[in-house]
Structure formats: structure tokens, C-alpha cells
């Protein structure tokens, strides 16, 4: 929690610092991972005194979806491209036809799907003015500050949500259950474990009232053959390390769901660790379409 708060503060400081200059910024400057972001590109000034006629924001593939907010007096054009998994994605949004005088500011609203992983997402913006243009497209290399750049891109900081539970230094994060098809005899649950303690530990077993039985499994693609095995000795958690139960790999197999596992539902899962003891978390049931289906590697695949 403390980490959450301090990172938000850093983000807020960044917003204030950027807004004080002539940059185009995203407001708010932070977003919680896993939630869609509703905010705006803020144009604070024109180009060296000249009024702004339009902006073009160039969305990186990390932005999973984008919808501009209607803006009276402006024409909005959405440019598409082929994204990961062959799905259509929004590559750029262009606002034109309006005017923002140099001594006024304006906001250009958007709703964005951001990556589930914490970290900054940089979005280059080209500002077109009555005289000339400004390209806000510089992205700091790792370790350098945004403030050292003359023409920084707009940025939103994705902040990891607080862990679902913490027990004996082990954090349980990013848990979800894949919505199961009708009458499916089993479903998979996923989560990420971080062992913040100095002692190696092991996830020994799982149980849930939502299914007749839960087992720890691994699946892998082996030259075109799908193989699934029980993790009979549990899942190792090295000291200071992570262990992921994620699509394409380890998962909790829920045999005989007690009720249909539909998007919007919740599943209680009790995890038993060798040293840290037991903890119960509540996981949301999510449709696989959240992530676009397609295959092994990505985060949540799913069902409608």
C-alpha cells in the first residue's frame, strides 16, 4: 500500500512538473493496472506563441484499445493498424478543425486500455499550429529523467494494484479465473506470487468452495502437442522471486465447478504455503475475450 501511495505521488509530481512547461501531458498522469483509463491530452500552450489547430497522438502497441471523447467544434479521425494477435488496433487519433489560442488550454478526452504491467506508457503527440508544429515525441532512455528532454512524449504511469493478499512476505497478485464454457467439467485459475521474504517457500496446495476439487497443474505445448501434468510437488517460490500461474503454463485446475463460472462472478481460493501458511483470496471470473484469444503466450485468453 505504501508503495502504491508513493508511486502515485511521484506520478502527481511529474504531472505538475510537466504541466508547468509547454509539454502536452496526459491527465491524470497515473492509471491503475487492469482498469481502463479515462483522461485527456492537455494542450497548455501553442507552438512558440502560435495557436494550436490540431493534435495527432500516436499510440504504441502497448495501448490495447482507444476511444476518443466527442469534442464539439473538432473533427476526430481514428487510424487503425493490425496489432498483436492480428487484431485491429487504434494506431493514432487526430483532432483537427478547432483552435486553441496560445494563452488558453484545452483537453482532448480519451479512454485507453493500458497494459496490465506497471510502468510508464509513452505516447508521442504532434501538435499542429497556425504557424509550424511541435513534435512531442522524445522518450527517455532507461535511467534518464523525463525532465532532461526538450520534447518529451506524453506519459501515463501504470501503477500496480495493491496485492490481493500478503502472508509471511508472500504477495498474491493478478488473480483471475477463466470463464468456463457451459457444462465444462473444469476451469483454470491464474495468479502471480511474489516471495518478498528471505526464505524459499512453496505453494503446496489449493482449495476452493467453487469446485469439487482444485489441483496445481502445468500445461505446455510440445511441438504441437498440448501436455498437461499435475505439479505433484507444488510450485517453488524462491526467496525474493516470483512464480506465475498464467495462461500457457502453470494454473490451478478447478474440477467440477459448483456453479457456472461466468464473467463477473467471483471465486474464493485458499492457498497453502509450506512455510507462510494459508491465505484466502477472491478472484474475479473473466472472459477470455478480454485478451483477444489466439494462444499460448498472452495474458488472459477467454470466453465470451
Amino acid at each position: 500500500m505504501r508503495r502504491f501511495a508513493s508511486r502515485a505521488a511521484v506520478g502527481a509530481a511529474l504531472l505538475v512538473a510537466s504541466a508547468a512547461q509547454a509539454h502536452i501531458t496526459l491527465t491524470p498522469a497515473t492509471a491503475e493496472a487492469g482498469h481502463s483509463f479515462a483522461g485527456a491530452f492537455r494542450v497548455g500552450h501553442g507552438c512558440a506563441g502560435s495557436a494550436t489547430k490540431g493534435i495527432r497522438v500516436v499510440l504504441p502497441p502497448a495501448v490495447t484499445s482507444a476511444r476518443p471523447q466527442a469534442k464539439p467544434g473538432w473533427t476526430i479521425k481514428v487510424e487503425h493498424a493490425v496489432g498483436p494477435e492480428g487484431k485491429d488496433r487504434v494506431a493514432a487519433i487526430v483532432w483537427s478543425g478547432g483552435l486553441v489560442p496560445d494563452d488558453e488550454y484545452d483537453d482532448f478526452g480519451v479512454m485507453l486500455g493500458l497494459p496490465a504491467k506497471a510502468g510508464p506508457v509513452f505516447i508521442p503527440v504532434v501538435q499542429t499550429c497556425e504557424a509550424g508544429e511541435s513534435r512531442w515525441d522524445e522518450i527517455p532512455s532507461p535511467g534518464t529523467s523525463l525532465h532532461s528532454l526538450k520534447r518529451p512524449a506524453a506519459v501515463v504511469e501504470v501503477i500496480a494494484p495493491p496485492p490481493l493478499a500478503v502472508i509471511g512476505g508472500i504477495e498474491v497478485r493478478e488473480g483471475w479465473v477463466r470463464a468456463a464454457p457451459n457444462s465444462a467439467p473444469a476451469a483454470a485459475a491464474y495468479l502471480v506470487l511474489h516471495n518478498g521474504s528471505k526464505q524459499a517457500d512453496r505453494l503446496v496446495s489449493v482449495s476452493t468452495p467453487a469446485a469439487a476439487r482444485a489441483e496445481l497443474h502445468n500445461m505446455r505445448m510440445d511441438g504441437g502437442v498440448m501436455r498437461m501434468r499435475a505439479l505433484e510437488h507444488g510450485l517453488d517460490l524462491p526467496a525474493g522471486g516470483d512464480a506465475a500461474l498464467a495462461p500457457g503454463g502453470n494454473h490451478v485446475m478447478l474440477f467440477g465447478p459448483a456453479a457456472p463460472l461466468e464473467p463477473g462472478g467471483k471465486v474464493e481460493l485458499t492457498l497453502v504455503f509450506e512455510h507462510a501458511g494459508r491465505v484466502t483470496v477472491t478472484l474475479p471470473v473473466r472472459s477470455a475475450d478480454d485478451s483477444g484469444g489466439g494462444g499460448g503466450e498472452h495474458h488472459h485468453g477467454g470466453m465470451r
Partner: protein, 185 residues
Amino acid sequence: MNRRQLIAGIALFGAALAPVRALAAAAIGGPFRLVDQFGHPVSERDLLGRPSAIFFGYTLCPEVCPTTLVSFGRWLKKLGPAANRLNVVFVSIDPGRDTPRQMRDYLTSFDQRIRGFTGSPAEVDRMAKAYRVYYRKVPLPGGSYAMDHSAAVYLMDAAGRFVEPIGYGETDDMPMASLRRLMGR
């Protein structure tokens, strides 16, 4: 089950899909006598006259099978009206648990053009062998079992000849190119 054929099947898929393409088209596919999800008898003859996309799996499969079935919903939509000329068939390699009734209930969650075939273990085995599909029962500690199985989709032309596979987990553009080629034949 013939051990040698099984091993040949593993080797085939183990070496990726390229060798499959290299095989004579006649080497994949063949006769079968199964039942669809409504309990009606089906054979290879029911698929002739239209191209087909056939894949093998089971309803207890937690990830690969539902993902493939969801992908098919998306692909059929992208194909547009041409999709109505394509047979899409999900064949269970776990007929002991996947009764026609189970297949019917399960498939209600997906595109309604997808058909589900199951049948006697011997007939399922015959079809799997004809399609060079590897599958094997793997016991699980809680008393249940999982099935290892080939995850590729087999594209067959209207005469029942193997054309090419779609590998699991490919991005949509490759399967779409393959399906459009298949429909244009």
C-alpha cells in the same frame, strides 16, 4: 493402440508442422463413423463437397480447446458469408467422458456453426490415426485424468484432401490467410 504409429505421430509433430506439409496429401484424413452433438451418425462423406477445418480436443481441456473454439468464432466472423460454406468440426479424443450430450451443452458456448463429433473409443482412435493425431490419457493425482493431444487445426479441401494445418497460438493473420486460401480453392 499401435505403439509404433503413436511414436511416429509424436515425431511428426515433435519436428514442428513443416513435415506435415511435406507429406502426400492423401496421407492425412480418412474414413470415420462417429456421432455429432445431437447424436446423429456422421461419416467422412458428410464433410465432402465443402472445405473443412477439423481439430481434436476434449471438453475438460482448460485452455487450448476453449481458446481454439473462441478463435474459430472470430475467424468465422471475419470470413463473412463464406464461412457458411466451411465445415468446422471439434472431435473429442476423450469419448469416455465426452458424450454427445456433453458435446452439445459445451458447444452452446461457441459459434453455433461449430459441430462436435464423438463416438466409440475404437472409432475415435481410427479417425485420430487417419489424421495423424497424437493423444494419450495421463492420470492425475486426484483420480481424474487429462489428455495429451495434438493441438493443430487440419484444413481439408472439399474432396477431403489435407491442405495445410493451422498451428496453435498463431496470430489471426496467418489462420485467416490459410482459411481464405482454403475457401478460394
